[in-house]
Amino acid sequence: MATAPTDAPPASHGEDRHDERNKSLLRFITCGSVDDGKSTLIGRLLYDAKLVLDDQVATLESDSRKHGNAGEDIDFALLVDGLEAEREQGITIDVAYRSFATERRRFIVADTPGHEEYTRNMATGASTADLAVVLVDARKGILQQTRRHSYIASLIGIRHILLAVNKIDLMGYDRAVFDRHVADYLAFARDLGFSTIQPIPLSARYGDNVTRRSGKTGWYAGPSLIEHLETVPVEDAALDRPFRLPVQYVIRPNLDFRGFAGQVASGSVAVGDTVVVAKSGQSSRVREIVTHDGPLERAVEGQAVTLVLEDQLDVSRGNMLVAPAARPSVADQFQAHVIWFDHQPLLPGRSYILRTETDSVEATVTALKYSVDITSFSHIAAKALQMNEVGVCNLSTRAPIAFDPYRENRSTGNFILIDRTTNRTAGAGMIDYALRRADNIHWQAVEVDRAARAALKGHRPAVIWLTGLSGSGKSTVANRLESLLHSLGYHTYLLDGDNIRHGLNRDLGFTDEDRVENIRRVAEVARLMADAGLIVIVSFISPFRSERQLAREMMTKGEFFEVFIDTPIEECARRDPKGLYRKAMSGEIKNFTGISSPYEPPENPELHLRTVGTDPNDLAMRIEEMLATRMNGETTRDRDV
């Protein structure tokens, strides 16, 4: 892509090339409501800066005639709306990234969609940006989506706003219109913590104040859009913050070399500096900073390097090498702001994969404190977080992670949440702070351990988890199984869904959120009982795979047995031992599993029992046989997460 005007002499000597190679980089987004002209503005910017090449102009002209929304004129939006669906519908669906350079700076711009349903794509663009161009249609002023996008930009840590009051041509280049919109914007953006807000009146369609100042807005004395983008100071505060190297990869070509590879997230480090391993607190000194181009004396924020330490320390991916005097938090409980992306709502108690830049760990939301109304910025009590909503919650991870508060470090303070079943990126989080209870509550080491207790019992503990529809025969099989095991001298305990709901879980209903919490509590109780040495039989509908998976992961490997009591729903409804199906079908019971609430059958249970035409005693014996075989350790399946 050309960077010089066509009439400029070609850069043919060394100095010019040197300049070309040493521009600073600014990443920005364009956002705002639908039809405010975001894509048109980028198209105009590229076109006026002579960054659209001849063959691309030819394509653009023919596309404008075919799909354009600009009458006889070129529709600049078609330069960026690249997907078929976008061109057909005339809207932006996903974020488009364009790179371009001017004489002074290199840019990466993300054109983000205005529709509310594509907020996640707007957030994607914002997450790597330093500045947001917020477009406002001069005819309409500040809209709900202007406020949404400004809030998300602020939440994601963008500190610079360029308020582009677009389509000013349609309002007769009227100063009063401009001033009114600017005042409205500043009134609500005051609380969003931006360091600069630069308002500019412009017309993307006609190019006023885009690359050069327009004569039609003589009353406006500020910079053009491109002038501001070229001169706004790029944040290099990351360089002044404490040293952080999230370890990505351990390079070990031979026994003599062990290098910790990663991209410096903040600060700098020099050969001879002391560094600390965040999670263990061990320290060493930097012996060498290795690169393919030769050793470095110093590595700074942004560089991808490999550190060799003087001592042999245990450091693996997900850990962090840090400055000894300013260490990150290491905790398994923290508060965070979360943006939700997935159609399946965020449910407290459900297990997700939490991924930081280099670490990956299981996590659950232990408390959803509130969701944020993104247009009024007020707090709302919430039991779940729906797609495109923002909430504040407490999270608990299975193992401690190393992090900084997001407002101090965008690299080491972020995470994403991944749905365990679909692997979709379900949400993104920005950590506020570690919860103090994580710092203060340590595991109490006990002298009589689970092995000692199990030895006294004479058998290994186990959790046998029966799952299936209501009326499938779980309780019957569970009772026969417990009698059988008891007669063989095993120490057992039966946790039955209905009974637990009369006591421990009497406060829970049958919504999805409550079902998740119901299972989490039962799994915790089963874990404690197994820890005490018992063989625990759990008889619960437990309709969701992710909660059964959560239960599995809580238990000691090889001691969890998922048993699918498989009875077709027609048969369950026919048996209907408690008359529940009749009520559910008549609409008297809401959220009834199999009728008005889903049941997700196990994909890979330890035992799959079909009940139709079999005797419950035989089924109980089959479970006992499996248990005996597994307990003898012959075929313990090692299941990894």
């Binding site: 892509m1 050309a2 960077t3 010089a4 400029a8 070609p10 850069a11 043919s12 090339r17 070309e20 190679r21 040493n22 521009k23 980089l25 090449l53 001849d54 063959d55 596309d63 960026v80 690249g82 669906i93 996903d94 974020v95 488009a96 990234y97 364009r98 790179s99 350079a101 290199r106 990466i108 996640r120 794509n121 994607t124 997450s127 790597t128 790029v234 990505q248 990869y249 390079i251 070990r252 070509p253 070399f257 590879a261 990663g262 991209q263 690169t291 393919h292 942004g302 560089q303 991808a304 991924r355 830049e357 690299s411 972020n414 994403i416 991944i418 692997n423 979709r424 990126t425 993104a428």
Partner: protein
């Protein structure tokens, strides 16, 4: 002093390469022998130094590449001792497929798209690096750096995973895979400036030289071997030309140029008025053709 934009782009790419090596069980780097592949190879050598890149390189050959590309490929593989895999779609050989006879669409689909799918399935790769850049084409500008593909290798542009910060979702189920584009944010000019700065070896076809070409549909096609049909109306001329992009020789147009050095190529780039894709016949086939090909599993 803050890093320059080229240093930032390089660090971003190395970070991506390491993420994939750390989180996938069977990654591969697509090596198409062009300038972008040369940059990728160079970055792979840097990212894991002093170890070697912990993945093989795959060339999906179509049997219609420029001769000089194949010679260069084999030389690089030998010099760097690369684990190089070459795959050619056997159906294409059986059918004796030719872009001259069957047209660019059929040729590209069978030899590149299907050939690639075959190779990925054959070796069970769960992540594949490609050198594509967002500035090449409009649907590329919309694609994530970690681009999810289903078990049929298809891209679904309407349900891309949100890609926040550089915290990548690297999880896939068996049979699914990710295409990874470390050069997403580079431009053609960045690539050339980086090649110059790092002195990266590239196929000599990128430099201007006198070469025998035939003009067809406004494109200068190099007479690379005897398979090229020369009609009565065709005139073979010696012209000073070079290539901005390399692919199958019957589908890749040369440009007239005097640029015989990297410095001259960069100067030419600074004043270029056409995009490199202009020289590619496959992108002209139909509107939205790249998006369509990507949905079918093309890179």
């Amino acid at each position: 002093m803050p890093l320059s934009h080229l240093e930032r782009l390089e660090a971003e790419a190395i970070h991506i390469l390491r993420e994939v090596a750390a989180t996938f069980s069977r990654p591969v780097m697509l090596y198409s022998v062009g300038k972008d592949s040369s940059v990728m190879l160079h970055l792979a050598m840097k990212a894991f130094y002093p170890a070697r890149p912990p993945f093989p390189f795959l060339h999906v050959d179509t049997t219609w590449k420029f001769k000089e590309m194949i010679a260069f490929r084999d030389r690089m593989a030998k010099e760097l001792d690369l684990d190089l895999l070459v795959h050619v779609n056997p159906e294409g050989i059986a059918q004796n497929i030719s872009p001259f006879v069957h047209g660019s669409s059929a040729h590209t689909h069978l030899m590149k798209t299907v050939g690639l799918r075959q190779a990925l399935d054959k070796y069970g790769f769960d992540a594949a690096f490609g050198g594509a850049r967002r500035d090449e084409e409009k649907s590329r500008a919309k694609e994530r750096i970690f681009s999810f593909r289903n078990t049929a290798h298809a891209w679904d542009p309407k349900s891309q995973r949100p890609e926040m910060w550089k915290t990548y979702n690297t999880r896939v189920a068996p049979g699914e895979s990710i295409r990874v584009f470390p050069l997403s944010n580079w431009t053609e000019l960045d690539v050339w400036q980086y090649i110059l700065k790092e002195n990266i070896p590239i196929v000599p076809l990128y430099f201007a030289a006198r070469r025998p070409v035939v003009e067809r549909d406004g494109m200068l096609i190099l007479v690379d071997d005897e398979r090229m049909p020369i009609g009565a109306g065709d005139k073979i001329e010696e012209r000073m030309v070079r290539f901005r992009t390399l692919g199958c020789y019957p589908l890749t147009g040369a440009v007239e140029s005097d640029a015989t050095t990297l410095e001259a190529i960069v100067s030419e780039m600074l004043t270029a008025r056409t995009s490199e894709r202009q020289g590619r016949m496959i992108d002209r086939d139909e509107a939205g053709s790249m998006e369509k090909k990507k949905r079918e599993g093309y890179f």
